[in-house]
Each structure stands twice: as structure tokens, then as C-alpha cells.
Symmetry: C2
Subunit: 102 residues, 2 copies
DNA sequence: CAGAATCCATTTTGATACTG
DNA sequence: CAGTATCAAAATGGATTCTG
């Protein structure tokens, strides 16, 4: 057994999905509100720059955790919500929360 | 509900315990080998500096995840192993691994 | 509004040399 | 051997301005 077992293991991928200064909080809001508009999300999280928020959302979208829904018109509306896969994280995050509290 | 719910939640603490470039790999080795000597651990993980490895181990020790055992003599021997609390992470990490692989 | 672009600050990690 | 100390590099995050 050596370190290379690690490069592509699921644990590494999974931790990547939730690492990033604001990702757990994004998940928190999406679990709580179901669907959340970009600007509302942004204003709920003081001190994130929109750049970083966007980067995090893009990554989470690529990883299949969340989905982006765009409503055409002016002004533009963009909403984010958890994918089915993202919702599967629920019990795991709950377990982590419990672990961290114990 | 706002972002302050987050500052001290267990999830944040738990993620902190496993975030750090090498922490998951440290856990991986300790779960696998039970007890591991500092230098062996270091040589198993190319490209970590001893400085960073030490920092990670110290943090994990402070957080109660691992324990340090020192055997007096020359040369000095220091071993690390999971604490009881650390071992509780096992099923959670397994779930994350499975999630990441799916 | 929802970002993209640019530039800067902070944090994290690594390389190397040194010590008890 | 098991670290520290110091410095440099890289990664991450933030502030500001601009655009369709």
C-alpha cells in the first residue's frame, strides 16, 4: 500500500467537493432553502467576493453537486439548487457535524 | 438562519480536522498500519516537507484525532497512532470515499 | 443581475539547512 | 531521528472595476 492509492481515491474527490472556504456554507444554505438566487446567496455570506463565490459554485456544478437554473429576462435571474447527488451528502455532513460536536 | 450558525458548528470543526493537503493521507496510513513512526510516515509521503508534516500532526493531535508516543533513547523514536475519537472517523471517511467514487 | 477581468493580500506548502 | 528555523514558491481568497 502506498501513497498512490490516494491520488484517485473517492475520499480525496469527496473532500475536494467540500473544501474551499465557503463550500460548506453554500451547501448549508442550499439544503435549507432548496433553491437560492445568486445575489441572495452572495449577500447572505458577507466577505465572500463574487469572484470566489462564482468559482466555488462552478466547481460544485462540475462535480455534480449542484445545478444552475437560469431565467431569461432583464435583469437576469440565476438560481442554484442541490442535485440528487448533492442531497446524498446530507447524512454524511450530518455525521461529520455530530462528530465535530462531540 | 444566517451565516453565523456556521462559525462554531461541528461540521466546520470536523472539516478542519481533515483539511490540509496531507491529513487524509496521514489518516489513511494510521488506519492501515495502526502505529507509524514519524520518519517512516514521512518517507511514505514524497513531497511533504517535514515542517508541514509536523504541523499537520500537531494539529491533529490537538484536535484529539491522533496520539504521539515517544520512546526515549538515541536515536529518538516517535510513533503516531489514532485515538479512540480518531477511529470513530472510520465509517464517515468510508462513506465519503464511497460517495466520491459514485 | 450575474458574472468576468485584473490586481493585490493572505494562507498554505515546500526546500534547505540546522539542532538536541 | 525528530523535529525547528528561515526563506521562497504556490495556491487561495478578496477588492475593485467593468460588461452583456
Amino acid at each position: 500500500m502506498d501513497y498512490k492509492d490516494f491520488e484517485n481515491c473517492g475520499l480525496k474527490k469527496a473532500l475536494n467537493m467540500v473544501s474551499g472556504k465557503w463550500k460548506p456554507m453554500i451547501l448549508h444554505f442550499l439544503f435549507h432553502y432548496g433553491e437560492y438566487r445568486f445575489n441572495d446567496l452572495w449577500r447572505s455570506m458577507p466577505k465572500v467576493s463574487k469572484k470566489v463565490l462564482t468559482e466555488h459554485l462552478r466547481q460544485m456544478e462540475e462535480q455534480g453537486l449542484i445545478k444552475r437554473r437560469e431565467v431569461n429576462g432583464f435583469p437576469l435571474e440565476v438560481y442554484y439548487h442541490l442535485s440528487e447527488k448533492g442531497r446524498e451528502l446530507g447524512p454524511i455532513l450530518a455525521a461529520l457535524d455530530e462528530f465535530g460536536n462531540s
